[in-house]
Symmetry: C2
Subunit: 468 residues, 2 copies
Amino acid sequence: MADLSLLFPIIILIITSTTIIFTPPTLASQQLDHLSSNRAPRFLSKHSYSIKTQQEEQQRYKYESKYFYQQLDHFSFLNLPKFPQRYLINTEHWAGPERRGPIFLYCGNEGDIEWFAVNTGFVWEIAPLFGAMVLFPEHRYYGESVPFGSREEAYKNASTLSYLTAEQALADFAVLITDLKRNLSAQACPVVLFGGSYGGMLAAWMRLKYPHVAIGALASSAPILQFEDIVPPETFYNLVSNDFKRESTSCFNTIKGLTKTFHLCRELKSTEDLADWLDSAYSYLAMVDYPYPSAFMMPLPGYPIREVCKRIDGCPNGTAILERIFEGISVYYNYTGELHCFELDDDPHGLDGWNWQACTEMVMPMSSSHDQSMYPIYDFNYSSFQEGCWEEFGVIPRPRWITTEFGGQDIKTALETFGSNIIFSNGLLDPWSGGSVLQNISETIVALVTEEGSPVNPKVIFRCYNNL
Amino acid sequence: MADLSLLFPIIILIITSTTIIFTPPTLASQQLDHLSSNRAPRFLSKHSYSIKTQQEEQQRYKYESKYFYQQLDHFSFLNLPKFPQRYLINTEHWAGPERRGPIFLYCGNEGDIEWFAVNTGFVWEIAPLFGAMVLFPEHRYYGESVPFGSREEAYKNASTLSYLTAEQALADFAVLITDLKRNLSAQACPVVLFGGSYGGMLAAWMRLKYPHVAIGALASSAPILQFEDIVPPETFYNLVSNDFKRESTSCFNTIKGLTKTFHLCRELKSTEDLADWLDSAYSYLAMVDYPYPSAFMMPLPGYPIREVCKRIDGCPNGTAILERIFEGISVYYNYTGELHCFELDDDPHGLDGWNWQACTEMVMPMSSSHDQSMYPIYDFNYSSFQEGCWEEFGVIPRPRWITTEFGGQDIKTALETFGSNIIFSNGLLDPWSGGSVLQNISETIVALVTEEGSPVNPKVIFRCYNNL
């Protein structure tokens, strides 16, 4: 087993030694709802590929499911019921406490933890090399880790939802791992954090806030700068649009032309939902534009944007714009050809967890510019965003809170003499890269960037690693 | 004005250049109640010298009192009423935003902020040298900064008190200073944190948790290691006892003999309260054993422990032990000779803020050993401590929470490659020094220790500084 004081540098080495940068499958999704409505933006797809179809993966990665009873509010002493936090654990390759076997902790995102576990091969594959325990704690209010006894109760109203925050989730992770280490007499075992997208943000923030709990973090596609005015609000949609433009200008123009078409669609009952449905697909496609077939969001071919554009551009001359669009979009929603019809919105109440988080602290202002974006023009308007959140949840967002609590403004100055052992990894084709850390902050807080990279599947990096 | 990139090193230089180490007047007090009862321990004296008698000091330090409306719970989105946080501000010497004038922020402790402001001369005196703004935000639930409209409502029960935590207080400071800087277009102005005792703990923790908000911290007499089993629980009372022993072994023995005497005092209605009253005085005396007259806790002569022991030892042969004790204790409680009788307990409901904090997260286990302590033998018993807290507040303490949230266990390993710009200053006669950081952690997280030092008054350091 490796010398533990060198654990984090070795992990950095493994990652930098590969020619293709590792990024765990990004969950990062679109924030598009507000383009056509006042609803709070979402992070995670509501149309995600069901995890039930991924049984093959589940069989490959073995883990036990356990539960830990957490304080509902770590930061107050209200007499609240505890809730069970699920975590997945594998100690098969762990070197144990005597040999200070490390603990690889993946920071659960906004969804069922099993989904992230089976899609984060990198962690599983490097764990044996380090004699590491693998731990996937679930994020509160997602999957099975819901307070108040059931998802229905937990999502009932603003009061029951009020403890769904990133700070509480980080405290959950810290309490869980501290307790677990104590029970295993493993206090001396170093913890390394992993995470992608929102989970990557959590990994970076956790290393900053709990340095005594974890010695380092690999934060992939983690848009911790996508708040306030740190990056221009057009960044995200410009990047999605560019991903299409670089495949085909005519494809880009067709989609851009859609806006005009929609103005004619008065008879469509739910224009907004249809627009959301299409917009989401384009954003997700940009996020999972892998060079090989994948099935994280949906079953997709390699280079899915290229495939979409092929279908759009490939229609015979004179084909109506909507027909072209639907030809293309089927690559995303129905690549296997199994679906007979599409469900535009499978979450009609909008009460999913990420909507709540976006309406409280995760306020990421996003606009769509006239010139560079293929989306309808939209200027983020905080007042109407706030109104929408009030209507949906009866809650008032705190748009400045995340940067106050976690920083972000002038991040280089703040962290160049503070903190260590954080890797921010990004592929520049990933639309979330625009809000991520793309430059080294210090010798040990570093950015790994692939120019032509989309979030790359762990399998690829591991293949590269093996070929070294 | 100094080059701002060097601001913090220069402050370190000023402090290390003096022969006597600066420690702001420590508030740190005794945790003695549990020696004789199950009540939660207190930090701050309930017999403290009234601030009303310190008008002279108040006139010396000029400030405006302002109010900022804070979220009651920064970490949840319950619909709770905001509360006014008081802060004292002085911009007289501030170089302003264009010249990046620094902001010196004293982290308010568990009491009225004016009391701390007038007793923290160091901050006032170095501010003009740096062109610094001086800011003293009050800690929530103390002084005028109480939620729910009044102290009575705020302290009504465990629910109303539940937001009185260190994490919330730090978030208050972060939100206040971020908002203030924005309003003054002073985002580029560096913030330096100051604090003593609990305020020193807050300063250190704030630098660790909010490095993007403050560039450094001077944490004086900050016992951030007085939790769990990090230091032996006998540390505090051994240090108090040693302070007496070094003045006079017979004085030490007289006080130690008191225990035996008390076993005879069956007719005293409130033995516990009397014991508390005496025990407190000894602990406070050790904390304010300055070499010159002072009036922070009470009006006291220079070297007050020496004076106490003189009176105890000076009684004619044959004087009863209790008489000696009362002769001595009068130095602390009645040095001016103005009091005709003593109030043993001026807070009969025990509902003061620190008791709550000690019964929730600030669980500092303290024992009194047989051999080295002059206090009655006592082994900290968590079960009975918990019972006492349940009886008094209806709350269950979280004794492991502070070390999970802020660290402390194996602090050198955790921070030697993480964090920067924290000075821990301590005098070894101060009984809180035992739970403080007494060794350098890294090049920029340093300990300044005076072997023979008690917490030394700012005036002294400034005198030394001027003589350089």
